[in-house]
Amino acid sequence: MRYLPLTPADRTRMLGVIGVDSIDDLFADVPAAARLSGPVDLPYHAGELEVERELAGLAALNRPAGAGPFFCGAGAYKHHVPATVDHIIQRSEFLTSYTPYQPEIAQGTLQVLFEFQTQVAALTGMDVANASMYDGSTACAEAVMMAQRVTRRNKSVLSGGVHPHYAAVTQTIAHAEGMDIVRLPVAVDAEADVLAAIDADTACVVVQTPNVFGTVTDVTKIAEAAHAAGALLIVVTTEVVSLGLLKSPGEMGADITVAEGQSIGVGLNFGGPYVGLFAVREKFVRQMPGRLCGETLDAEGRRGFVLTLSTREQHIRREKATSNICTNSGLCALAFSIHMSLLGERGLRDLALLNHSRARQLRAALADVPGFEILTPRFFNEFAIRLPQDAGAPVEALLADGIVAGVPFARLDPGAGLENVLLVTATETTSEADIAAFAEALKGRVSA
């Protein structure tokens, strides 16, 4: 077996050094009733060639986003990732290292995390960011838990524009915590509806911009109202490229910003791994979940970086920790940071504008389709359309034309009564030819 270096002779010699007769002696503590006498009922080992053949066969059954015109978004976005990113994250020293608990021999990872935290803080307009969460949805749930700790209040209000998966994850965790979640009715342009639900028991309000329908909202007034009531404002963003064009959550008064960082550097990966961004105002740092990297000096006075404020974390505080998170998305944070370094402010702004421009072209093309109603009033690179029929049918039909038309909203939230709503996205990877082909195919397949 190619991954196992010991030879039979090695094993015999080692058993001798240990002073036992057989490997079974080393498993003597296992109750006899639970000892397997031989391998379980699964295939035996296989060579690289055979394994590659099987997995390549499975991969070939899938239709990658890049295989043709593609318009899905809804929390995961198709973007071009520079080749440099994947090259660097495959370096042994990044790929095969552990969490940087020994800072003397982990300065590579630690400096990257410090740079990542700074990039995320700048991007979101917040003071401090952590070293990553699993993804945007779990970051959202953690933010709500954190707001409860900060305010010692029990109720959280989620706007109807929050991604239904994010809302579901948050509700799942909150239910276990005994926390009260008020999720407002799903609506395309109603982030401000949270205003009416804020009261003296409210720990936080959670709004999303651009929201799941793509609607962009200035949440400044929501922040003011929340703060006036002693509640925190949590702003969610699933498409971080938008922050190259739109006012940041920090500028609008957010207390906690959570985002899905997948668009920068990570790729689609059928939903994971992704990278959750989590950023807060300075005064809340000690209530944050997750790892934090900080600057310090070594014994010779040289600048270095360490994981810090770990008294918040599970390995020190156990049941009193701010979260149970341990493993995070380190390598995805590295990918994010490399891609962001390549973009720089200028590249990010250009990329964001290009996304917006492509989406407006898409809107113009689809607005001409008979029976289509564009629902999203202000958008970045994604918007919702009401079709004259169930949105699932044309998506299936257009597959025959080689086009993946978008995400039917009902797939995200079957109970919302929005069966006719389709979410469509355009990014820098969407060509004018893709848009033309999409509009043309729709005209042929949708009956007004």
């Binding site: 196992l4 000892r35 899938n62 660097i88 994250i89 799942t172 797939r411």
Partner: protein
């Protein structure tokens, strides 16, 4: 608990350096690398994008006008920056990485290649189900392997890490109790030797944590367990093999006692590598167990993640698993994404989308490569290697549990350092100068000055001997050469870092000089 208790240095004593120093701050080829924010690239970019045809005038004052503060680098500068940084890291590809409880084993490059096939890497999670049949088939096969290796009837694939799997397991248990009208059960029992994530997870979902004592020989104290079990207990969380690297001999009895009071048995599967292919948790009476794909099934640790923590479930808990899951019929595979829709008792949702597909691909490739025979050999070699290290080092260092075999980890305490003026931390830092990553220190908390060594099965006998020779040489040097330890490391990119300073005046981002 002070930081020192878990092996975090607080403030190092300033060292007078007698070594040769450069004029630039470099150490030979090891560059003193600036932060990206110090390189002046405020108007630089390393990407060439097509021009946008339209502006953003339609968005009015929603547009960001103030500077963001993101520097850019050209491609050559980017490559050089990150390659220079990479050289300051230790990695499993460089040497044995003996972190107990972490299973730092070789990461096959085939798995990296396969995870990058466009059919997996460039697949959108909401792409129509007919366009993702291969991905769903892979999830289904991975689930089959996990269930078969563990003799458990169900698995929830979506948790994104071990601690997230614990969360999933406890939420499943909570839902099961609620369904039976047993919501009054408020207590989760956790051994004193448990990973910190266990009590943190139990508290996170609103349970009260009570500790179970440990016996002299490093196992769960059955009498104490029995005394604390009651109809107020929701679950016990036991790691097996435990964090002392020992198999819980009474595990079947532990399960029986737990079930007798109507509680569930959550097993922390972090140490599954020791028993994969030789013992199936389902045969031990386990109700739920997470499997760290980034440990046992070798997806890379990546400097702290990402991982994946699927949770296998017993018959009793299976109906309460979270969405989504994969089902198949004559039309192929599909995803059940909404528990309400399927009239299931599922407790909800752990994540957006379907879990860590990138890890699923790697883990499945790893399983196919090893097969049922190879995975059994994995456990045997992992245990053999740990016992070999224990045997070779026991003459010089004090094993915490000298009697009987260990499983995949060899645990030492610091009795052998008494009177030497050297702590576990010092010894571990001196290992760095000899070319090895320190072992896990000061964990488990139940062993004084703990040193937990997990070599894994992917180390050759030559590398094990090199490692043991280094530790034995260090052990021999402890008398009369204290500074070798107390000032260590001397040969790393940096000397010991001031963690007190970092925590007292947190500097968590780069800021322009005022």
């Amino acid at each position: 608990m002070s930081l020192n208790n878990v092996g975090r240095p607080t403030r190092p004593t300033p060292a007078a350096s007698t070594a040769h120093t450069s004029l630039t701050g470099a150490r030979g080829l090891l560059q003193d690398e600036a932060l990206i924010f110090e390189m002046g690239g405020w108007d630089k970019t390393g990407v060439d994008l097509a021009p946008a045809d339209l502006d953003a005038s339609d968005l009015g004052d929603l547009v960001r006008t103030a500077p963001i503060g993101l520097p850019g680098l050209s491609e050559p500068e980017t490559v050089r920056h990150y390659v220079r940084l990479s050289q300051k890291n230790h990695a499993i590809d460089l040497a044995l990485y003996p972190l107990g409880s972490c299973t730092m084993k070789h990461n096959p490059r085939l798995n990296e290649k396969l995870a990058r096939l466009p059919g997996f890497a460039d697949l959108h999670p909401m792409s129509p189900v007919s366009t993702v049949q291969g991905a769903l088939a892979l999830m289904d096969r991975l689930a089959h392997w996990l269930k078969t290796m563990t003799a458990m009837p169900a698995v929830a694939l979506s948790p994104k890490a071990g601690a997230h799997g614990e969360l999933c397991g406890l939420l499943t248990i909570k839902a099961a109790h609620e369904a039976k009208g047993q919501s009054h059960r408020r207590i989760v029992l956790v051994p004193t030797s448990a990973h910190g994530t266990n009590p943190a997870t139990a508290a996170f979902v609103g349970y009260d944590v009570a500790e179970i004592a440990q016996t002299e020989d490093g196992r769960v104290d059955l009498a104490d367990l029995e005394a604390k079990l009651s109809t107020d207990v929701a679950a016990i969380m036991v790691t097996n093999p435990n964090t002392c690297g020992l198999f819980e001999r009474d595990i079947i009895e532990i399960a029986r006692l737990t079930h007798a009071v109507g509680a569930y048995f959550y097993c922390d599967g972090a140490n599954f590598n020791a028993i994969v292919g030789r013992v199936r948790p389902g045969d031990l009476g386990v109700d739920a167990m997470h499997i760290n794909l980034h440990k046992t099934f070798s997806t890379p640790h990546g400097g702290g993640g990402p991982g994946a923590g699927p949770v296998v479930l017993s018959e009793a808990l299976a109906p309460f698993a979270p969405a989504p899951w994969v089902v198949s019929d004559s039309k192929g595979f599909r995803l059940v994404e909404d528990t309400v829709d399927e009239a299931s008792a599922g407790f909800g949702r752990m994540v957006a989308f379907h879990g860590q597909m990138g890890m699923f691909v790697r883990a499945y490739a790893y399983m196919l490569s090893h097969g049922a025979d190879g995975l059994r050999q994995v456990a045997e070699d992992a245990v053999l290697n740990a016992n070999y290290v224990k045997a070779r080092l026991s003459g010089a260092m004090s094993a915490a549990f000298p009697d009987g075999p260990c499983m995949h980890e060899a645990l030492f305490d610091d009795h052998w350092l008494e009177g030497s003026g050297i702590t576990t931390l010092d010894f571990a830092k001196a290992m760095i100068d000899e070319g090895f990553h320190p072992m896990t220190m000061y964990f488990p908390l139940v062993v004084h000055g703990a040193m937990l060594i997990e070599p894994t099965e992917t180390e050759s006998l030559q590398e094990l001997d090199r490692f043991c020779d280094a530790l034995l040489a260090l052990a021999a040097a402890r008398a009369g050469d204290v500074e070798r330890f107390t000032g260590a490391p001397y040969l790393a990119p940096l000397k010991r870092l001031d963690e007190t300073l970092a925590a007292r005046k947190p500097k968590l981002r780069w800021l322009a000089e005022a």
